[in-house]
Amino acid sequence: MTALDPTPAPAAPAGGPDPALPLVELRAVHAAYGTIEVLHGVDLSLMPGEVLAVLGPNGAGKTTMLNVLAGLHPLSGGDVFVAGRRTNGASAADLARVGLCLVPEGRGIFPNLTVRENLRMAGHTGHDPRLVEDAAYERFPRLAQRRRQLAGTLSGGEQQMLALARGLATDPAVLVLDELSMGLAPLVVEELYGRVAELAREGVSVLVVEQFARVVLGVADRAAIMLGGRVTEVGTPDEIESKLSAAYLGG
């Protein structure tokens, strides 16, 4: 195979996309920080319209995997396919522009800008900033009340809503969420995952990485366990839930 495969994905059959073809696929992905390899051949696929939860303890390589997928970290081996096309060399900006959106761990908002300015920053993708704002306020009415407030002074849940709203500004087909629940109260986490479930119903494929399984397994169609830089289990949320304690505790 050449370094880049310019061949587009085979055309979907009439009447919609082939549900058997993954929208995002990682094949034997390796990635490293300097000489330390953290992904040792990750295989994972996300089907159109599905919510896939990737669970695993700290240091399993979950965030690195997402960064590789979003074009933020280079691969040292393997392939990433997006919509059937090999995208190993794609920049994060290009992937975001076409509709693969990463909401990073720690929210990634601009704390010194207001909510409104943060949303307007999403306009660089070519979307009308006013439409972006309206859509965000419609989805998250609480942000409308805080539109003139500095993003850094919002509560954790509101900051996460802002990060989600900004990510959704690009009208993504694939939403990649990294530790959505980090530092948030359980009620807020439930509310946020409620929104994620709504997005999935709208046809957005969601890949979500979490350490805390309970809520995310409630909205996921499939789940996977990641340990030591590899995906060790993939299955239904019920199957994965039963294997979680063994995975976390090494039983």
């Binding site: 370094a3 880049l4 310019p6 587009p8 994905a9 979907a12 009447g15 919609g16 996309p17 549900p19 929208l23 159109p48 319209g49 280079p74 997006v82 919509a83 059937g84 096309r85 995208t87 190993n88 060399g89 794609a90 920049s91 290009d94 522009r97 076409v98 509709g99 601009f110 704390p111 010194n112 500095l150 850094g152 002074t153 009208d171 087909a173 694939v174 709208e202 046809g203 957005v204 494929s205």
Partner: protein, 153 residues
Amino acid sequence: MSDNNNERVEKFKAEVAAMHLRDPATGLDRLLVRLGVAGLVAGPCFSIAAWFIAHGTRNPLQQRDAIVVGLIGVTLAVVGGALFVKGSMAGFLRFWMARLCYEQGAQTDRLAATLAGRARLEATGAAAAATADGRATDEEERASDDQGATRTG
């Protein structure tokens, strides 16, 4: 999936198919920086060589050639310098921007914490003042009641 959802996936596939991908193996940025360094080194060498050529002859045609070589050297140095600065600044600014974002974030967090602390203090102060006022009013009322009772008695 509904038609709308199919449409979203189809649109995504079309956009990914049309996306211009750069081969990461070519390392274009690194190549440009190296070319810049080469230009920066080769440019002055060309100019020095041109000076020697021009000085070594009285033939005007050869001297004109030397001027051309000299100008090529200057051009190489300028273009090389621009490429080098572009490559280095891109790397530096990326780091600088990330650091700026982080520092501003940390500063806003500190400011928010200070404001929250101040608001808490003010609230506590107001509550204490209100309690003190309440106590004073109670005492005044009690005193006036006592006086009234004494007069009646």
